[in-house]
Amino acid sequence: MAYFLFRRTLGFVLTLLAVSVVVFAVMNVLPGDPALTILGMDASDDALAALREQLGLNAPLVTRYFSWVWNALQGDFGLSHSFRVPVSELIAERLPMTISLAVAGMLVTLVLALSLGITAAAQHRRAGDWGVMFLSQLGIAVPAFWLSILLVMLFAVKLRWLPPGGFAGWSDPVAAIRSLILPTVALALVQSAVLARVTRSSALEVMRQDFVRTARASGLSQRRVLWRHVLPNALVPIVTIVGMQFAALVTGTIVIENVFYLPGLGRLIFQSIANRDLPTVQALVMLFAAIVVTANFVVDLLYVVIDPRLKART
């Protein structure tokens, strides 16, 4: 068990390091002069030289990489060119929005997908099953940003129940929650399409097993059999997908925040691209990639909690 934890943690740290090398390499090694990118084609040579000095571009690459990683580990991602404040400050300001959106999206996804998936499995080859499968096939094909636009057209433009976008802050919690409803739904519907399918097929697999027949034969209600016996045993593949989906969800927030003009990290990344603010983009890409890697790591650890047999084997 300790060996397993050690190996996984080591792998996790190495992957993070490798990711940081890739991010740094793409942003710094590929042909292209950041100073030129920031100042534009008609900048004077003096201005370019001054900015290169300011950005520390004259130091050797390896030195720059290590100082970037070292500073980042201490929460220092450098200075944002466009906002003229530390990148870490920008991140701290916008992180709560992105986290709230991702967590709310994940919760709605789980509730929707598990209920739909289990219902479909219980109704195998009947109307409910076909309905869920059809919806999920459709959900996989619908882009989240188009679904968002449709939701806004219906609930904001036509019915006027909810705001079309923007976020006024948490000082008015009711207004804040109202402006997060549509983004959360848009994020969750698409994700739950995938998860519902996995839940269904995983539950079907379990329902063929003898202990389920025994549970039924001993007179347990269908509901109790499904939720207490089938679902817990169907969790391993579901958790794998949930881990992957959390990653998809977090990058999905980048899209959704831009559709709904929400002041989170995803919106910040696009403002930074438009402002040619490379240190901010670099920090945010690293942050998002780190979240993806961490999600996968947590899933690996969760396996052991869910399936004690894996613990015995490792």
Partner: protein, 272 residues
């Protein structure tokens, strides 16, 4: 003849429709997709403009057709480019084994840490947004996917007797990979390619919607949607058609991929 699965048939119909329209746009569109005509902006559907015109008076049908062609081209290039690199790496990993296999698979793991969107964001930040960068980003995420599928399928074939016979006959690992492994895993790769085609269409649309893909004046479903979003109150219909096109294309390739999988691997089909 065995009956073809329903998802395969429906997928084939949708794909033929989208690919047919994309091909048709090479030789004919009802109007030029780029020609603006401000006096006839926001025109309703009519005999001249079947689905009306947009905010600049451009014909919506013509734009949708041109966008279909662009979308298919992007997906084709991205899947071919990323797929061939991934398949080559997967074959290499399987043929050589040992540290090469480990190395390739760790690299593939690393690739999964970068969704296409993040990669496109990095490229856009360094080089400025362009369709080429979007294609590169989508190709890149295809590499680890194909490397994994190829290696997993190839490893199974390497254990077969006919491969052992070829080795006994003195054939090299690369010759065996080319002549025996590749033809026998082609079905799995084609299935994956079809599914990734759908993913690539979706990715291109999202990147273009966010301004990281097709740049004006190139037509793209994603870009049409981002323009339509600002006109939701004036012309909501403009936000409908491009989305329907994306769903049709993605659904088509997705169903076709599922159908092909059911046909080539009947055990899976029965299990579902």
């Amino acid at each position: 003849m065995r009956r073809l699965p329903a998802n395969f048939l429906l997928g084939a119909v949708l794909v033929s429709l989208v690919v047919g329209i994309a091909a048709l746009s090479l030789v004919w569109t009802p109007h030029d997709p780029q020609t603006m005509s401000i006096p006839t902006k926001f025109a309703s559907p009519s005999a001249i403009h079947w689905l009306g015109t947009d905010q600049l008076g451009r014909d919506v049908v013509a734009q949708l057709m041109a966008a279909a062609r662009n979308s298919m081209t992007v997906a084709l290039v991205a899947v071919l480019l990323g797929g061939s690199i991934g398949v080559a790496l997967g074959l290499l990993a399987s043929a050589l084994g040992g540290w090469v296999e480990d190395g390739v698979m760790r690299l593939a793991d690393l690739g999964f840490a970068f969704p296409a969107l993040l990669f496109a964001i990095m490229l856009a930040a360094v080089f400025g947004p362009s369709l080429t960068n979007a294609v590169l980003a989508i190709s890149f995420i295809n590499i680890p996917i194909f490397a994994r599928v190829t290696r997993a399928s190839a490893n199974q074939i390497w254990t077969r007797d006919y491969v052992a016979a070829a080795r006994a006959a003195g054939r090299g690992r690369f010759a065996i990979s080319r002549d025996h492994i590749l033809p026998n895993i082609a079905a799995a790769i084609i299935v994956q390619a079809t599914i990734e085609f759908a993913v690539a269409i979706l990715a291109e649309a999202a990147l273009s919607y966010l301004g990281l893909g097709a740049q004006p004046p190139a037509s793209s479903w994603g870009r049409m949607l981002s323009e339509a979003q600002t006109l939701m109150y004036l012309a909501p219909q403009l936000a409908i058609y491009p989305g329907l096109c994306i769903v049709t294309a993605v659904l088509g390739f997705g169903l076709l991929g599922d159908g092909l999988r059911d046909i080539t691997d009947p055990r899976l089909a029965r299990a579902r």
